[in-house]
Symmetry: C2
Subunit: 337 residues, 2 copies
DNA sequence: TTGTATGCGTTATCAA
DNA sequence: TTGATAACGCATACAA
């Protein structure tokens, strides 16, 4: 780490001069181009090393139209699900010399548009986004812009884009199935906002499981629109105070399940005896509670990694046909069921 | 949102030509420079608007040596404390047209060095960092590099840098004082790694409070080195299984306190009757548990915001003397004490 | 295999 | 008040 405060930054020109070659030869040496003799290349590399040359990414980006930066847009950074997603992305991109510019939308449409404008303004090479799905417009805008992007966790049925999502329908099914097999008959679902594809699909899976096992659904046991711990707490409290209360709750996410757990504790219900709870996403939260949460999914980190890798492929191959991945959900048994 | 796929991006030259002025006049108009007639300026602005001109940040950055990007380096993005910190930063920077490049260190020294190299390579205008403090080197390197930066949450006693931290000593004091006033005599502390300034200072505050109120400390009730929920769980379990177990635990963070809570539930201890718990940081976690956590601090979001604003000031004023802020800690009473 | 020269889109320095 | 022109550091078409 040569920390040269005063010295001007070493440029390619410096390296070239010192190595006694043209600036262009130096460039080729450093970029692993083929048309160059091994000796020259070695010499240039050595000099570059000696001088502590660091390419100016700005200049390179300006010239090559590639910033090596990826725009990442998620709902809420403080939500553990997104935090883990981001970690996975960062992890996957690190080794490929890509950086991440982060934007949060707070699940707000205007903020989503704004976030997209920002990352486009930064001329990122690609975008990873969890769309709010409050409108299809921002994503359409992304398509029109021509920039490669991958949707994460959510997708649009009527839009031909690349995405990496969970198999949410299946996830909803196995979560519900599990509760049924544990003997539960009154299974509530505290679901996310219905315009979000994952919420809609998990709900479908829930219904299918009930039907498959011959249980009749009870619409009054289903609440949509919950995203936060507070939502989960509030709704669970209401459901659990009913006369014929549910004996099991399938929550949209671990985050929401945390609120359910809180409500259960508040009402002094024993978990899982008085109430069984299944979360979703398999975030670290699910092992942080007492009892630990039974949950469905596969680590958000993995989803983030896959989305990042997919985007990189899209960037390199220029393949124009969208790639769509559904990660199978699995049940992670812990103490809450 | 004019989404022009095919069309070449509008440049300053286009605007200039269309407005019938020189490229340079156009530049002045768009950058609010003074030496320009109001009419010309108005015309240029209008044309720019009509054409949907977006300045190329890369070119601008290359020329002006200002990327309008801030490097943010934190321990662990998935830790709610850091997640909230990041949110605060993002929030504060958004309105000033700065973007954020994010790097996580996992509290690892090599990764910290690497992260710094990355943000420097991206030529960020400034850095916000929560140093691992496993070594002073990375921060020294930052100093040598000449780039403006602000330490967050942690500082080095023997280093003259700008920082924004909590008043951790005071925080440790009031947390402990609160427990003492609740009648507790055997107060354990599950502390963070001692090389981290906040851990060291909270411990000092803890000791001072004990002394101030005439309680004698018991070294066996103090454990350093805990950062995660799992750490908190493991250590709390051990402490609580002792014959003479503590009746209160002061945890290094809400995150650690979550583990303590888990252990308490596991042992079927009633909170706060059998065991009182105080967390630290006032993260959203503290309202997500049952019972909600009494905690100390002031929202990490605020700290992030202040650090970001301070950095912006440093960037604009070029003031060379470090600015150091200590945010007073306050006790947030909730259900766990 | 190597070097020369040009341009990426800005901002800044000078003259006009 | 304006305009021509030179950078910024790099990559690349083309010539040698």
């Amino acid at each position: 780490m040569p920390g040269n405060v005063n010295l001007r930054r070493i440029t390619l020109r410096d390296v070239a001069k010192e190595a006694g070659v043209s600036i262009n030869t130096a460039s080729r040496a450093l970029n692993n181009k083929s048309e160059i003799s091994p000796e020259t290349k070695a010499r240039v590399l050595e000099v570059a090393q000696k001088l502590g040359y660091r390419p100016n990414r700005l200049a390179r980006a300006l010239r090559s139209n590639k910033t090596k930066i990826i725009g990442v847009i998620v709902g809420d950074i403080a939500n553990p699900y997104f935090a883990m997603l981001i970690q996975g992305i960062e992890h996957a991109l690190r080794s490929f010399d890509y950086s991440v510019i982060l934007q949060g939308t707070d699940e707000d449409l205007d903020r989503e548009k704004q976030a997209i404008e920002v990352v486009l303004a930064e001329q990122v090479d690609g975008v990873l986004i969890t769309p709010t799905q409050k409108s299809i417009k921002p994503v359409k805008f992304l398509i029109d812009s021509g920039i490669p992007f991958v949707l994460m966790s959510r997708y649009f049925d009527d839009l031909e884009t690349s995405f990496v999502i969970m198999d949410d329908k299946q996830g909803g099914f196995i979560a519900t199935e599990h509760l049924i097999q544990k003997g539960h008959k009154r299974i509530a679902m505290i679901n996310g906002p219905f315009h979000i594809s994952s919420a809609a699909e998990r709900y479908t899976g829930y219904l299918q499981a009930l039907q498959y096992y011959g249980l009749e659904g009870d619409e009054s046991l289903v609440v949509h629109g919950c995203l936060t711990v507070k939502d989960g707490y509030r709704v669970a409290l209401r459901l659990l105070k009913r006369r014929r209360r549910p004996t099991a709750i399938f929550a949209f996410s671990d985050f929401v399940a945390l609120g359910v757990l809180q409500a259960a504790h508040k009402l002094a219900l024993k978990i899982p005896d008085d109430l069984a709870i299944v979360g979703f996403d398999d975030t670290f939260l699910s092992v942080c509670t007492y009892p630990p949460l039974t949950t469905v999914g596969s680590s958000p980190e993995q989803l983030g990694q896959r989305a990042a890798k997919l985007l990189l492929e899209l960037l390199s191959t220029k393949a124009d046909k969208p790639v769509q991945m559904r990660i199978p959900a699995r049940l992670v048994l812990r103490g809450s069921t």
